[in-house]
């Protein structure tokens, strides 16, 4: 275990956070919020101090293995959340540290589950920081650091592996740093495009930026109490379409950029993702045809909500908790599926679902022809046995955590739907669930213990479980 390099990178991550905290500081200066300004200044100073402290000892050995990669990833996310929650406490928006931490973890993991009951009285600086955490967390903190830091050879792959979502890490170009730059370039470009389109819909710059941040990271923190419902239908369409765009594997955009549209559109995961969205929209439209008779409104509501849930963003234009049973059930199922691998969305990921679906199909054929030799394929390529196995193990671990968490938070005594959808929504980084945690409700009423369980689930969901579980193994901390 090379702890010195772990701390060194951790220091860099924290310094980065301090640098990013300057943005909400500027916002609060513009809006003349003295308490918020001092809160951000203090937090920045703490970040710089902690960051420099971590980086004091330069590591002799700059190489780190997969173990260190996992460790540094898990620790980074925890540490930036702890530091990021300081402004909430200092401004008095959230007085309890657990609630403040919950809000920050929910932000960085792009969940968007909130414990703030009234957003209208929250200072603009804090609202901006909340949305910015989504943007930072969406593509990943370490990928951001990777883009900036001097490359240290192949071991950087271990960082990317631990943080990027999906069953396999795909590089776009041979060099990791260049890959990180391209990914952030696409991310940046899409964010700017969305902001401009929102500005064209006559939104103020503050609203346009915060909403784009929330969409980009597939987060879902709104700046109004009713999320997106009170915006114009143009704004809802823009956000709806962009949510779906951010849920697409970024390799798709890269292929488009290097003018290989044929290859881009032949990506099976993207196709499956779009087909699932289309089917879900049609089912919900049919189910809700009596309650929302105007077909365009019906389409807008259904499309927005399907997009918000499958990409794990969690914005809402309607309180879908009151929708018909079929629609609600479909939405809960979509929560599990999640977005594409290599996107900013969470959930199990469409590619994993595809691999599992095909494994099941293969196994059924095996029952009929016991000696049959079959392979699981994705994008016309055989999926290696190790990948299939890791997908299966991932889903099992995921279900174990889900079951255990539901039991743990049931101590609070709420109904089953609330508990179950709260955990599903945390583990898949969505935000709203059903009943008490539906789009109209929030997570404030849960006990501190339940909040800790939910925070763990959010981190586990964002980091795809294993980096977080590694923290709990004794071997991780041993030297040999």
């Amino acid at each position: 275990m090379n702890l010195s390099i772990v701390f060194y990178i951790l220091g860099k991550v924290v310094l980065c956070e301090g640098f990013l905290l300057a943005l909400p500081l500027i916002v609060s200066i513009i809006y003349k919020e003295p308490v918020t300004i001092s809160a951000f200044v203090i937090t920045i100073l703490i970040c710089v101090a902690v960051g420099l402290l971590c980086m004091v000892r330069k590591p002799k050995n700059r190489v780190f293995n997969i173990k260190e990669g996992f460790l540094v990833t898990a620790l980074s996310w925890i540490v930036i959340s702890i530091l990021g929650c300081i402004p909430f406490i200092l401004t008095g928006v959230l007085t309890s540290p657990v609630s403040a931490l919950f809000e920050t973890v929910s932000g960085f993991t792009t969940t968007g589950a909130s414990v703030i009951t009234d957003l209208d009285i929250v200072p603009k600086g804090i609202l901006f920081w909340r949305s910015l955490t989504h943007w930072i967390g969406g593509m990943g903190v370490l990928v951001f650091v990777l883009m900036l830091k001097a490359p240290s050879g192949g071991s950087d792959t271990n960082l990317m592996k631990a943080e990027s979502p999906g069953p396999q890490v795909e590089k776009l170009v041979p060099k990791l740093q260049v890959t990180a730059k391209i990914l952030y370039g696409i991310y940046f470009g899409l964010t700017i495009l969305e902001t401009v389109l929102l500005l064209l819909g006559k939104l103020p710059l503050f609203d346009a930026l915060t909403l784009s941040f929330g969409t980009a990271g597939t987060g879902g923190f709104g700046i109004r109490n009713d999320s997106i419902a009170s915006y114009s239908s143009y704004i809802q369409w823009v956000i709806g379409i962009f949510m779906v765009l951010y849920g697409i594997n970024f390799t798709f955009y890269f292929l488009l950029l290097i003018r290989k549209p044929k290859k881009a559109f032949s990506m099976e995961e993207v196709r499956a993702y779009l087909i699932i969205i289309a089917c879900a929209v049609l089912i919900i439209m049919f189910d809700m045809r009596d309650r929302i008779p105007v077909i365009w409104d019906n389409l807008r509501y259904a499309f927005f909500q399907v997009g918000a849930v499958i990409t794990t963003t969690g914005y809402a234009t309607a309180d879908f908790n009151n929708w018909n049973m079929v629609s609600r059930t479909v939405l809960v199922l979509l929560m599990f599926i999640g977005a594409c691998a290599g996107s900013t969305g969470g959930g199990i990921k469409v590619s994993r679902i595809l691999i599992i679906w095909r494994t099941v199909k293969k196994e059924i054929k095996q029952f009929i022809h016991p000696n049959r030799v079959g392979k699981v394929t994705l994008n016309d390529k055989t999926v290696a046995h190790e990948v299939v196995r890791s997908v299966n193990v991932f889903v099992m671990a995921y279900l174990f955590i889900l079951a255990l968490s539901v039991v743990l938070i049931s101590v609070d005594g709420y109904d089953f739907t609330t508990n179950f959808t709260a955990i599903v929504s945390a583990l898949n980084n969505i935000g709203p669930g059903l009943e008490l945690v539906g789009p109209a409700g929030n997570f404030a009423h849960f006990s501190a213990f339940s909040k800790i369980v939910l925070m763990f689930d959010m981190l586990a969901g964002r980091l795809e479980i294993f980096p977080l579980l590694v923290l709990f193994r004794r071997e991780t901390w041993r030297k040999f």
């Binding site: 050879g153 192949g154 792959t157 041979p174 060099k175 290696a384």
Partner: protein, 452 residues
């Protein structure tokens, strides 16, 4: 540069590491997914599992934008096919490893017809290196520069010859030879010496000289300069064949011991002037019968590294002066220094070096005035050959007045046919070729050597 490398064997692996360190964008292709996983985990390169001679795999590796394709799989035909496809469908330069002697005779034809830029035959390259050392037995390694006019010779200082009390600047006066010591390995340290440097016994010294001067210099040091008169080669593989052919051309007697009868007959047919012995090269009786005591040199070229090392040690006991063993695996190469097994050649190293030199030369084509670039002494020292195209702050000034950066040395100037080992009063002129030895990597311009 964007480089595609097909084949992740030992050579491929070693190449990837060095090329990555030099900052290239590399995509590796291999049919074995384990090898690809291993390499992508270790190094920041893109890995593709598949057959490198398939167009769809090459497309995935983005060969249209690649500058160089290097094919070093185990199969000659596959290597040639990869290069052919990449060349026909893309615009990259291609380097292929082709080792079958039948193809090597037709290498120029293949190169032309398939449009392959360079073909490396590791066995042939190894044989040439062996032959150079056998013809100049005191050196442990020889590189040639300036179209063969200048040689870089590495040897171990086994005896002090009074050097250990004398700073370098006095040595050349005493011996009166135009030879320059340009790098010294002491333990694990590499030093670019200046005039006040004092040598120690057991230093490994690299000198630069013309061929004639080197002979004279070594004679004054009482080191063996004449080529060996005969050579006993154990193992009759491809290297042995090429080596024997080369040595016979230089009138050196060759005896090859080979285990396989069929191979013996084949060799006897191809090398009528050599003595081919059928038998086990590790058989003590046979070695004695074939006169190992009287052999001037022994080259151990069997397939087993251990056997080669053992043979070399046994030969030392029998009083053979020049011993060379071929070692295939170079994972633990630093251990070999501690064993007394004479000189060692790594055919795989040579293949790597050859390809690296090609890539570096390609890179230098783009805009810099570097003519050739060698890395010596485990790649720790760069030897760069510059051509001086125009007047600058280094031209027309006596070298003694130039303030060079530390760890750099101007060690040779070629002016037309004249080779100058420079002293303080010499000057660099426009049109010269200058060789600089440096511990700092990445020299691009002659003006970079001057301290600011």
């Amino acid at each position: 540069m964007n480089i595609i490398l097909v084949g992740c064997g030992k050579v491929g692996n070693a190449l990837v590491k060095i090329l990555y360190d030099e900052g290239h964008n590399i995509t590796v292709i291999d049919t074995n997914s384990n090898k690809i996983n291993q390499i992508t985990e270790e190094i920041d390169v893109m890995g593709i599992v598949g057959n490198g001679s398939s167009i769809s795999v090459l497309e995935e590796a983005d060969f249209e934008n690649a500058d160089v394709l290097i094919a070093v799989t185990g199969s000659d035909e596959l290597n040639l096919l990869c290069c052919m496809f990449a060349k026909k469908a893309g615009h990259c330069r291609c380097v292929a490893r082709v080792r079958n002697p039948i193809y090597s005779q037709e290498i120029e034809f293949i190169k032309q017809q398939l449009g392959i830029s360079t073909i490396i035959n590791p066995e042939l390259a190894t044989a040439r290196e062996l032959s150079r050392v056998l013809r100049f037995p005191s050196a442990s390694h020889i590189d040639t520069f300036a179209d063969g006019k200048v040689r870089l010779i590495k040897f171990e200082l086994k005896d002090a010859y009074g050097f250990d009390r004398m700073p370098l600047k006095d040595i050349s006066d005493k011996y009166g030879c135009d030879v320059l010591i340009c790098a010294v390995e002491r333990g694990h340290e590499v030093i670019i010496p200046d005039g006040n440097f004092v040598l120690n016994v057991n230093d490994i010294v690299t000198v630069i000289a013309t061929k004639e001067n080197a002979v004279e210099y070594f004679k004054k040091l009482h080191l063996q300069v004449a080529p060996v008169k005969n050579s006993l080669i154990v193992g009759g593989g491809a290297i042995a064949y090429y080596l024997a052919k080369d040595l016979l051309q230089h009138n050196i007697n060759v005896k090859i011991i080979e285990r396989d009868m069929e191979r013996c007959e084949y060799l006897a047919e191809l090398l009528p002037d050599a003595t081919i012995i059928h038998g086990d090269g590790t058989d003590r009786q046979l070695l004695t019968t074939e006169g190992i005591e009287d052999a001037e040199s022994l080259v151990a070229l069997t397939d087993l590294d251990e056997e080669n090392m053992m043979l070399s040690m046994y030969a030392k006991k029998q009083g053979v002066n020049t011993r060379i063993s071929k070692i295939n695996r170079f994972e633990f190469d630093e251990l070999l220094d501690e064993l007394d097994i004479g000189k060692v050649v790594f055919p795989k190293h040579l293949t790597c070096d050859f390809i690296l030199q090609y890539i570096r030369a390609l890179q230098n084509e783009k805009g810099s005035n570097v003519k050739t670039l060698y890395q010596i002494l485990d790649n720790r020292v760069e030897v760069v050959e510059f051509s001086v195209a125009e007047e600058s702050e280094v031209t027309d000034i006596p070298l003694s007045e130039l303030q060079l950066k530390p760890n750099q040395l101007i060690c040779c100037i070629t002016r037309g046919d004249q080779v100058i080992i420079p002293r303080g009063k010499n000057m660099i002129k426009v049109g010269d070729t200058v060789i600089v030895v440096s511990l700092n990597h990445g020299l691009n311009d002659l003006n970079d050597i001057v301290a600011d």
